[in-house]
């Protein structure tokens, strides 16, 4: 880490500490009701004493499992459909309008139909998360496939590469940066819809944890839950970004 980076990190730490300290100070000043606006320390300590650690870990695990399931489905289907509709002109002509009709419908608007189709169990939650991941992956991958520099395809064609091999060896690698972007956006949206998905008659998960806490007016647990979901999102997104950099960073800048 060079000096400039170290400087930046130090400034960032100062900024973060300042904001947390200000929040703590306001909460403890007596100007606001700590039951409604708890200090961060109070919220975290309170939540950790009221909720057994096993329960918290369980909530995190079940939420992450739902996200991974929905995301994996959405990413796989999104990439496959993007490749097919981006590369095969006729297929693309047929499918594109259908996608254009469905894509603007927000994932959460599917919740009622998800309940009708899949009931109140796990599948409907996974379905909503799936929708969150599917469309961003699809649109980004589609852009990647159709945006491949034509000269690269021509170069491959002069080397007798055509058909499926052209798709696998040139188009997909060239579209990878866009696919990676889609995966990150899709992952973020999976987290974004998590809470709503867990509103569907859930008895577990981080979304349930905070909605449940509201019933008891336990703002400390709500704040803790918000921070916990944010931290999980941040950490996993960071991991995903690292993977992508490992995977594409050698030839693709940023």
């Amino acid at each position: 880490m060079n000096a400039a980076r170290r400087n930046e990190a130090a400034l960032g730490a100062v900024g973060a500490v300042a904001v947390v300290a200000a929040w703590e100070a306001v909460a403890r000043s007596g100007l606001v009701d700590p039951a409604i606006f708890p200090a961060p320390s109070a919220a975290i300590v309170g939540a950790l004493t009221r909720l057994p650690p096993g329960e918290i870990a369980g909530s995190v695990a079940i939420s992450l499992l739902r996200i991974v399931e929905g995301f994996a489905l959405g990413a796989a289907l999104g990439i496959a459909l993007a490749l097919a509709s981006g590369w095969y002109r006729i297929f693309g002509n047929l499918v594109r309008p259908l996608v254009e009709v469905l894509r603007p419908i927000p994932p959460l608007a599917w919740i009622p139909m998800a309940i009708v189709w899949f009931g109140l169990g796990e599948p409907s939650k996974v379905f909503v998360i799936f929708l969150g991941a599917f469309f961003p992956v699809l649109t980004n991958a589609y852009r990647g496939v159709t945006g491949v520099d034509p000269v690269l395809i021509r170069a491959a064609q002069t080397m007798d590469i055509g058909g499926l091999r052209l798709l696998v060896r040139v188009v997909i690698p060239a579209a990878m940066p866009d696919i990676a972007t889609g995966l990150r956006v899709g992952w973020g949206l999976s987290f974004g819809v998590l809470v709503a998905a867990e509103l569907i008659a859930a008895e577990s998960g981080m979304g349930f944890m905070i909605m449940n806490a509201r019933q008891f007016g336990d703002v400390g647990v709500i704040v803790f839950g918000i921070l916990l979901i944010g931290a999980c999102n941040l950490a996993t997104d960071w991991g995903l970004a690292l993977l992508i950099r490992r995977w594409l960073g050698r030839w693709h800048s940023v």
């Binding site: 400087n7 930046e8 400034l11 960032g12 900024g15 973060a16 904001v19 409604i36 606006f37 002109r89 693309g92 002509n93 047929l94 499918v95 594109r96 309008p97 259908l98 009709v101 603007p104 419908i105 927000p106 994932p107 959460l108 608007a109 919740i111 009622p112 139909m113 309940i115 009708v116 159709t146 945006g147 491949v148 034509p150 395809i153 064609q157 052209l166 949206l189 987290f191 974004g192 819809v193 998590l194 809470v195 709503a196 509103l199 981080m206 979304g207 905070i210 909605m211 806490a213 509201r214 007016g217 703002v219 709500i222 839950g225 918000i226 979901i229 944010g230 931290a231 999102n233 941040l234």
Partner: protein
């Protein structure tokens, strides 16, 4: 006729119509349950019902639409009004940028919908909560995009302008801002998408007005046909909102031709 079928849009529309007809036929045959998959004709009837008499009785589609648009626009513009000036300042000041970076990153990672219970405790289940939720989601997206837009303006452009003796506010207005515009537009587009996502969840609580409320409410009355009308209305609304922005984007990147000229 053959010429017409060669047109991509005609092919796509024909496929869509064929799907709808197949769906209708499958319903008529009893292969698809009308409750789970209301046939297109039922959805069309429901749409007419929504326009004429409304659901719940008296709340017409138009009313739901206006309520939803009002909430989105309030939240969206509140966010824009705060995020753009703040982002422009932070993006031009490296120290501020470094100080706020971790906070912004974390705040953006906080799932907007996870704030729902907190916002209810703070602001109740009325209008304010909904607008605050939408504004929160839009704000952080727009802020990060504005910061990046200003920060990553090609330094060559700035240097070129300097050699032409342009600096200060004029540099900002004539070079930095135009160069940042594509990114700002992209940010606004994403923010709008967030707004549309949040509104549905926000309207699930404490209201019977708005498209989000409509689709939830209709299901509890076993009117999935009306739920679908609500979903389609939300989709159309989204298209209307984004088409303005994407038109601007098309004007800004007319060179994007992609694979049009490649033999395959």
């Amino acid at each position: 006729m053959r010429r017409a079928l060669d047109r991509p849009s005609v092919q796509g529309a024909a496929f869509l119509v064929a799907l709808l007809l197949a769906w209708e036929a499958a319903s008529a045959q009893g292969w698809l349950r009308a409750f789970a998959f209301p046939p297109p004709s039922r959805i069309a009837e429901a749409a007419v019902e929504m326009v004429v008499s409304g659901f719940p009785e008296g709340l017409r589609l138009w009313t739901h639409l206006l309520v939803t648009v009002g909430r989105i626009l309030q939240g969206f513009f509140l966010a824009m009004a705060l995020a753009i000036p703040l982002g422009l300042v932070i993006g031009r000041a490296p120290v501020l940028d470094a100080m706020t970076a971790p906070l912004v990153t974390f705040a953006r990672s906080v799932a907007t919908l996870s704030l729902l219970p907190l916002v209810i405790v703070w602001f109740g289940i009325g209008e304010l909560s909904k607008v605050v939720l939408i504004a929160y989601g839009c704000f952080w997206v727009m802020l990060t995009n504005t910061i990046a837009a200003v920060k990553y303006v090609d330094p060559v452009l700035v240097r070129a302008a300097r050699t032409m003796d342009v600096s200060g506010p004029r540099l900002f207005a004539t070079v930095v801002l135009p160069a940042a515009t594509p990114r700002l537009l992209a940010g606004a587009r994403v923010a709008l998408g967030v707004g549309f996502m949040v509104i549905v969840a926000a309207e699930m609580i404490g209201t019977i007005q708005g498209l989000g409320a409509l689709i939830m409410e209709a299901r509890t009355f076993y009117r999935t046909d009306i739920s679908i009308v609500g979903m389609l209305a939300l989709g159309l609304l989204g298209i209307a909102f984004t088409s303005g922005l994407s038109w601007l984007e098309r004007v800004l990147i007319p060179w994007h031709t992609g694979l049009a000229g490649v033999r395959r």
